[in-house]
């Protein structure tokens, strides 16, 4: 459904070019949650920007339903890590969620209904008239998720979305993502540096190396759905997968040559 082939991204620098991503290829299946996990500085954000159509790859390409992505596609929505700056501080929560829907074909009643449903979904029905700064960080990220849900994308891209919220909020938001996936069947591309999070959420986890980053291994996560913060994480299989991914990442940090094996 979403195919990345031999993607390479090089940024011009004073000393020639800096290659953030090299020879990256993978395919995301419809309806799956595909995680990309790797050490910091692994070019994850670069990769994601290319997939989202915000940046153009230097070579190789991204294809969605057979068409090359050369700009942000209609069917994609993004949740950024920096919720405080991706929401409009001057607009109410309701307007923030509604704005992407203000296109031809969406009546005011339809928009209103979608905003109400999405905010109820993330548990923020009461906050519709509030401004972002009146909410906690976790609540602001919920608004960003509601904005993405209301948009009804085919692909939801999440760039380290829970990196700056506290642990309890993080667990709640992870379960929210799983619920959205189950209820809407949305394909989710999830970038994180947190191994536990990637194993807990995903159908598959791709481990990427440090820059110039490439895929070291794609791990199938055969844990049963629905997942549960306590039950799933107590499974021996969870511990095994977590150790496997964790080990892979640690090796990359200590010895980058292993990644090319």
């Amino acid at each position: 459904m979403l195919i990345v082939t031999e993607l390479e991204k090089t940024y011009p620098t004073k000393k020639g070019g800096f290659t953030a991503v090299r020879d990256m290829s993978f395919t995301v299946q419809e309806g799956e949650l595909f995680s990309i996990v790797g050490p910091s500085g692994a070019g994850k954000t670069t990769l994601l920007r290319c997939i989202a159509g915000l940046d153009r790859p230097t070579s190789g390409g991204v294809y969605f339903q057979g068409r090359e992505v050369d700009g942000p596609p209609e069917d994609f929505a993004i949740v950024f890590q920096d919720y405080a700056r991706s929401l409009l501080p001057w607009a109410t929560v309701g307007t923030n969620v509604e704005l992407p829907l203000m296109k031809k074909g969406n009546t005011a009643a339809e928009r209103n209904r979608r905003v109400t449903t999405a905010l109820a979904e993330v548990g923020l029905s009461d906050a519709v008239d509030k401004k972002p700064f009146q909410l906690s960080g976790g609540m602001q990220q919920r608004v960003a998720i509601a904005r993405a849900i209301a948009y009804r994308p085919k692909v939801l891209i999440m760039d380290e979305p829970f990196a700056s919220v506290d642990a309890q909020t993080r667990a709640d938001l992870e379960d929210l993502v799983l619920r959205v996936k189950e209820e809407t069947g949305t394909t989710i591309l999830f970038v994180t540096h947190d191994v536990d999070e990637s194993v807990y959420l995903s159908n598959r986890v791709a481990m990427v190396t440090r820059s110039p980053s490439r895929i070291a291994e794609v791990v199938d996560i055969d844990l049963p759905f629905p997942r549960d913060q306590i039950a799933t994480k107590s499974l021996p299989e969870f511990a095994r997968l977590r150790a496997h991914v964790f080990g892979g990442i640690r090796d990359m940090v200590h010895d980058t040559t292993l990644a090319h094996a």
Binding site: G53, L54, L88, W90, Q134, Y151
Partner: protein, 262 residues
């Protein structure tokens, strides 16, 4: 002394100290000019009397009205064009690169230098005044708007692109509110410029207005009337700036996290 330093840190304390300073200055003016026989520096009560008398007559009100009308029309034109052109320049790199040098040259010309030209174009009257005020107030608004539009937060820009928010929606919901703080700074600079250009153009190119009254009174040696015009100008400038700072605070309430009631 300690209480004095602490009171400086509170809004109320600052207001009290400011008021005390202003009253002292006023008192000094009053004492120094008391019983003045010098025609150039009349006594303060005489000036205040004249201010109260003259500027309430039909003639005084007409002059005051003429000044305020041209000032507001000129500022409005300057702001509208400044914001519109600034938004275009700030968002379209090639336009910016093409007209930046010409713009730098044009803004270096003091608006007052164009008074003769404006008088030739519009004659003696309101249009000359409006043109000059608009031209003078255009630059700070335009340059601040353009700079603000260039510096819109990259994450905000990306999120607009990712959700395909474009055209009118992008301008109205994202760009203009994001640039608003800078637009307001531009207007804050434009207001005193507008006042200066208003008085200057009234002194040379008009038949009514505050500047006209001041020069006319000077020419006919009615120095108390001249001083009363200066007092009215001071009060006017202060009131506009004060009212504007209140407006600014209301418009930027979202950006101040301390205001939980917003």
């Amino acid at each position: 002394m300690t209480t004095l330093t602490t009171s400086v840190s509170t809004a109320r304390g600052r207001a009290v100290i400011g008021a005390a300073g202003a009253l002292t200055a006023l008192g000094a003016w009053f004492m120094l000019s008391r019983g003045s026989e010098n025609v150039y520096f009349p006594a303060l009560p005489a000036i205040l009397d004249e201010t109260w008398e003259y500027w309430r007559t039909a003639e005084g009100l007409r002059n005051l009205g003429a000044s305020l009308t041209t000032l507001s029309l000129g500022l409005c034109l300057g702001i509208v064009f400044g914001v519109a052109i600034g938004l275009v320049i700030g968002q379209l790199t090639f336009v910016e690169q093409a007209i930046s040098p010409a713009l730098e040259f044009a803004r270096a010309i003091p608006a007052t230098a164009l008074i003769p030209f404006a008088m030739m174009l519009f004659g003696v009257g309101d249009n000359t005044k409006i043109f000059l005020i608009a031209l003078g107030s255009l630059w700070p608004v335009l340059l601040n708007t353009a700079d603000g539009a260039r510096r819109i937060d990259p994450t905000l820009r990306d999120s607009a692109r990712a959700f395909r928010i474009a055209g009118f929606q992008r301008q109205a919901f994202i760009v203009v509110p994001a640039v608003l703080p800078r637009i307001l700074v531009g207007i804050r600079i434009a207001i005193p410029l507008g006042l200066i250009l208003m008085v200057t153009s009234e002194m040379v190119g008009a038949q009514e207005g505050l500047g006209f009254v001041i020069t006319q009174a000077q020419a006919t040696f009615q120095l108390v009337t001249m001083w009363s015009g200066i007092v009215v100008l001071g009060v006017l400038g202060f009131s506009i700036t004060f009212a504007y700072s209140l407006l600014e605070r209301v418009l930027l309430r979202w950006s101040d996290p301390r205001r939980e009631d917003a």
